[in-house]
Amino acid sequence: MSVFIIRRLIQSALVLVVMSLLVFVGIYAIGNPVEIFIAGDADQAERERVIAALGLDRPMWEQYWLFVRNAALGDLGKSFIFNQPALWLIVERMPATLELAFSAMLIAVLLGIPLGMYAGYRPDSFAGRSIMAGSILGFSLPTFWVGLMLIMIFAVWLGWLPSTGRGELGSLFGIRTSLATWDGLAHVLMPAVNLALFKLSLVIRLARAGMRENLPMDYVKFARAKGLPTRRVIFVHVFKNILIPIVTVLGLETGSVIAFAVVTETIFAWPGMGKLIIDSINNLDRPVIVAYLLITVSMFVIINLVVDILYSILDPRVRLADVKG
């Protein structure tokens, strides 16, 4: 198992280097970022001063080399437009995104698995069909549209929930989070549902397919024949077996929910990392873009590793050494 983990980490380091090089070259090719954020009436001397201050006057390979050298020491550079360490900017906004992602995944799992299991257990019932029809909507409606509709209905017409922003912070187990206050929960509900919708549909479909696949299997018949109550057969034996695909997909989706909550964060003015990355791309704020992608890639690597380890726990047939990175 340790060989497996070491090999995986070496591969990841390679991915990080290639990715940072690609981003560097890509942004360099677009052009001079100073033109984007400098005042239009700034004279040539001022433009040159800014270019020099940000180190953009050096050749590309030298800029990249400086970046690699500093990154090896844990310094990912300072944001061009905030003059703050890029890493710090991202970490500062991470709690907001994490609590949104956490809430969304919680909704997806807590609603998705029971609904999907029911739809798989009673596929021809009216409820089962309605659940499946609903999941198609969850897949196909664009996030930004659903977000705006949620705001229209629950904030503008009904006035039940706040339309925008993150609520008051409170303390929960020593962590500063808006999930600890009622105001915070009211603020997080709509963006979390918005973000959860797609994952929810996915979980419903996976759980249903798993149920449909497992129910006719021999072990289920055997368990029944042994006289086990239906509840135990489904919630213990079948449940464990349908979890494997769900865990795989959820692992990857957790990564994407954290890294790419951009649309939801923009619509709900949620001060998280997604909004930061979009603003940074619009300003060609290279240090922040590179740092963000480095963090994102590392996160995916770790999640994949955890998923692989979880496999071996859920299904003893899986041996980690057999899984080729």
Partner: protein
């Protein structure tokens, strides 16, 4: 018993009334653009200056039409051609209780060029000052190398900080420990990407704001900002999108406040190169000669544009057709310059005269995320050019790519849509930056690289003329000369729109600022 009950009821009533009163004195504003710092000297960016205008004062203030008003200076005059005298306001206190004196002004002037890693420094507004003297704590003499009539205007962009914070880094302002001004509000909290909170400065020297506590929320998505207003989560929003304008105007809960802005949307035209990259013959081969160097071709392009149609259909009437660089009423705007009349026949005739009877091929560029409806405006102009005989393709790009490609040193485009808001509120700002020949301190955003020695000469003469009347005449002449030569093609002036909940009013501003001190209960 009865008495104590009634006393209790009275107390409860008073508490309720107080609570309602406190809530009524809170204001939440929905801002449309991101703020990068609370440090007023870090980034020359209007959303930052908008926040700074709550916490800090300038020596000279700009009113809603950008006319100069006394700020921390009560009066100013040019003593001679190269000396300006500013008399400072007495009895003004910083939020930390210290007195405001000339020492704070000097410290500010030292801090402006010092701020480390500034992505766009305010030094361009202070570099004209060669030396300063303070005969007494409430008088400052500024010496300039050459006559410099724009000094009061330039100083209206410089926020005055306390001399204690001359060396405070940007982070101390963001954290609040250095965000000490003399302004109408005190800094409370800054949550990057989310909100800025300020509280009323009860010792303010000027008119005291109505609001005890103001939260400025950053809601950059247009639809979300409108929804926040409709839901009552914010009481005022800026930059009302044109698609929602009609709906908001007819809403019974909302009031609209609008004014013509200082921002002109225009086409910059490459009149510099002998061969321009986007002008081709009809088969797509690069033209050997740049047709846009011929003023007749530029004039033909201008005549081919139906400005009223763009204003009416694309901008949904949130603009007025432009014939110059600033709307009438601003300093230096020439009343003689009217919007070019829509005249496709005249355009064809001019093209024939210039030797292009069959027109040519052209690709025009613009941003798609910068100005209201920028992409749609360009898409409307494409067919208008084609109708005049110039086969036109339209390419729009995100501002990040457009600005990087279209500016020095790439200059990748031939005709491009850009906007210019005149931060100084007078016409030398666009003349210096957009039309003057590219050189030290001139033509900073002249992406067409237009160059006309006569215009340059008039402009330089104006910029050395301290007398306002004479200077305005020279500036008007320079503008007329440039526009009649079609140095660039003005399209329209934007209209700035705010929407408030009913019961509030706002003084709409030409400079697009949203200032809590000018939001008041409607009378």
């Amino acid at each position: 018993m009865g008495r104590s009950l009634s006393r209790f009821a009275l107390g409860a009533f008073a508490a309720a009334a107080f609570a309602a009163g406190a809530a009524a004195q809170d204001l939440t504003i929905g801002l449309g653009a991101n703020v990068t710092s609370i440090d007023p000297h870090f980034h020359n960016l209007s959303p930052n200056s908008n926040i700074a205008a709550h916490i800090f004062d300038r020596l000279v203030h700009q009113d809603e039409q950008q006319r100069l008003q006394p700020g921390l200076a009560t009066e100013w005059k040019a003593v001679d051609d190269t000396t300006w005298e500013f008399k400072l306001r007495r009895g003004v206190k910083f939020h930390d209780g210290s007195d405001f004196t000339a020492a704070d002004v000097l410290a500010t002037l030292k801090r402006v060029p010092w701020v480390p890693n500034s992505p766009s420094s305010f030094r361009i507004y202070t570099q004209a000052i060669k030396s300063s003297e303070t005969p007494d704590p409430y008088t400052i003499l500024f010496k300039t190398e050459k006559p410099y009539p724009l000094l009061p205007v330039d100083l209206s962009t410089i926020n005055i900080v306390s001399d204690k914070h001359e060396q405070s880094p940007t982070g101390d302002f963001n954290g609040g420990s250095a965000a000490i001004g003399t302004g109408p509000f005190k800094f409370v909290e800054y949550v990057p990407g989310d909100r800025i909170v300020v509280a009323r400065n009860d010792n303010y020297w000027g008119a005291k704001p109505h609001w005890q506590k103001v939260t400025l929320k950053l809601i950059t998505n247009n639809a979300a900002r409108v929804a926040a207003l409709l839901a009552g989560d914010v009481q005022i929003i800026e930059a009302v999108p044109s698609v929602d304008y009609a709906k908001l105007k007819s809403s019974t809960n909302v009031a609209i406040w609008q004014v013509t802005s200082n921002r002109v949307i225009y086409l910059h035209v490459d009149s510099f190169r002998d061969q321009t990259p986007m002008a081709t013959d009809k088969q797509g081969a690069l033209l050997p000669k740049n047709p846009l160097k011929d003023p007749r071709v530029r004039k033909a392009l201008s005549k081919a544009i139906n400005r009223p149609a763009i204003v009416d259909r694309v901008m949904e009437e949130l603009a007025i057709p432009a014939g110059g660089l600033l709307p009438e009423g601003f300093f230096g705007a020439s009343p003689k310059l009217k919007p070019e009349r829509f005249d496709p026949e005249g355009a064809r005739k001019l093209l024939t005269e210039a030797g292009y009877p069959n027109g040519f091929g052209l690709t025009i560029h613009g941003p798609n995320d910068r100005y209201p409806n920028d992409e749609k405006i360009l898409q409307a102009i494409g067919p208008m050019f084609s109708r005049a005989g110039i086969d036109t393709k339209v390419v729009t790009l995100p501002w990040a790519t457009f600005a990087a490609q279209g500016s020095n040193p790439n200059y990748a485009f031939s005709v491009m849509l850009v906007g210019w808001g005149s931060g100084t509120g007078e016409i030398s700002s666009p003349l210096r930056s957009l039309i003057a020949t590219v050189g030290p301190g001139r033509g900073a955003s002249n992406r067409g690289r237009y160059s006309n020695p006569k215009v340059d000469q008039l402009l330089e003469q104006a910029l050395a003329t301290v007398d306002d009347g004479k200077r305005e005449k020279l500036l008007q002449e320079a503008t007329e000369l440039a526009i009649n030569d079609t140095a660039l093609i003005p399209l329209h002036y934007q209209i700035n729109v705010w929407a408030t909940r009913k019961g509030l009013q706002y003084v709409p501003r030409a400079d697009e600022y949203t200032l809590a001190q000018f939001v008041t209960p409607a009378k």
